[in-house]
Symmetry: C2
Subunit: 214 residues, 2 copies
DNA sequence: ACAATGTGTGAGCATTTGCTCATATGTCTT
DNA sequence: AAGACATATGAGCAAATGCTCACACATTGT
């Protein structure tokens, strides 16, 4: 669709302007006219490239998610003979690094995306992460495939969800280093179950009562 | 402010109508006129009780968060001489149960809340959970208080965030039981670190390389 | 019965929003 | 140079939204 070079530049300007408007004024201030103004193009131009406001946001969010997803996939591909602990660190680092690049943008886009129906984008992202992580752990798992899927799903949900909570609550990413370390610790402890026992055993008996009374 | 009984009923009707509109039409369809119509009251009545749309949403979201927070706090208060594993189960169950009651409502309210500036409500909820969980683990922790705070923060973030991801992606809460079990398993494994070693040790050496090659 | 006050009404206004379309200006090919 | 096509313009429209206000009804106390 882009025949001349300037059209691509225009689209880029519109994308960038959308992010800027979102960052400055929030979801409420995100109007097509404002976006066009900020981008330095006319409102008509905007509607030449996007059939509507929703489509613009959809494309923008999709592009960002795609970038993050690709980064994680790339990181997960190189895992020759890693320990589970290293796998844990690998995914946690890859995901957080992919998201930490522009926390503000991620937050802004996420807030904007709730106005629309973008659950499919989020679901696609989750599925992508699921596949990547599955590949990472597959050869270390001896049990049934569905068991592995449950583990992968839970782990991915916890890592992505936990990171989101951190970013939402702590805009300054002050706590990020500590949280990252804890997330790794937790992931290692969890994944080690893969190598030590079946998922169905009740692990309350393995660990004693660690309660240190007074 | 409510002197006669019917005013309270009106407010309740408005709250309920807000949820209904949100569930049926999403955030885009959430207009004051629609809410009033659905509630069976006039638009003027709505603005007699709430200074604006934002205030209405703020009150509604606050009420729901409050209910959930209170439930978790109540559950966390009774913890005489529990093992860490039981503590893990307790919080996971309490939080999920508090949220699972009305998944659809939680999702709807969350989506609506992004239009506004409600980060303070979310932060307050997190702080509340933090305090409750801190009380739950306090007597089992021998290290420095800041270490405990880091653990509690990370754990709470992971449990709340992970649950949110699940609810957003899986509206039918089909995967909830499996996820709940995994979350408990993960929490137990993580919290056990509290009783076995200091947080600063590198746990890569404790666990071997569990990788089962082929 | 009657006023005082709490509660409910809804037509309609000011503003905003997403978007269209007739037109203008670049850019490329021949 | 000139036509063909891609790109850009922006005034303005139809619809929607948050909200006001002058007025009506209900409940209470005396």
């Amino acid at each position: 669709m882009p025949i001349q070079a300037r059209s691509q530049a225009t689209i880029e300007a519109i994308f960038e302007a959308t992010i800027q408007v979102l960052l400055q004024g929030g979801a409420r201030a995100l109007t097509t006219n404002r976006i066009a103004e900020k981008a330095g193009v006319s409102i008509g131009t905007l509607y030449q490239y996007f059939p509507g406001k929703e489509a613009l946001l959809y494309a923008l969010v999709g592009r960002h998610l795609d970038k993050a997803g690709e980064a994680v996939e790339r990181a997960c591909r190189v895992h020759g003979g890693m320990s589970l602990a290293d796998c844990a660190d690998l995914f946690v680092d890859a995901y957080i690094d992919a998201k930490a690049g522009d926390v503000a943008v991620s937050r802004a886009l996420y807030h904007a995306s709730t106005e629309l129906d973008m659950q499919d984008l989020g679901a696609a992202m989750l599925a992508r992460l699921h596949q990547a992580v599955r590949g990472l752990l597959e050869h270390a798992h001896g049990g049934q495939p569905e068991t592995l899927d449950t583990i992968v799903f839970s782990w991915v949900a916890v890592v992505t969800g936990g990171t989101r909570v951190l970013f939402e609550q702590d805009g300054t990413i002050e706590r990020l280093p500590a949280f990252r370390a804890q997330l790794k610790l937790m992931s290692r402890a969890y994944l080690d179950i893969l190598g030590t026992s079946d998922m169905r055993t009740d692990h309350t008996r393995n660990g004693e009562c660690y309660l240190a009374k007074t």
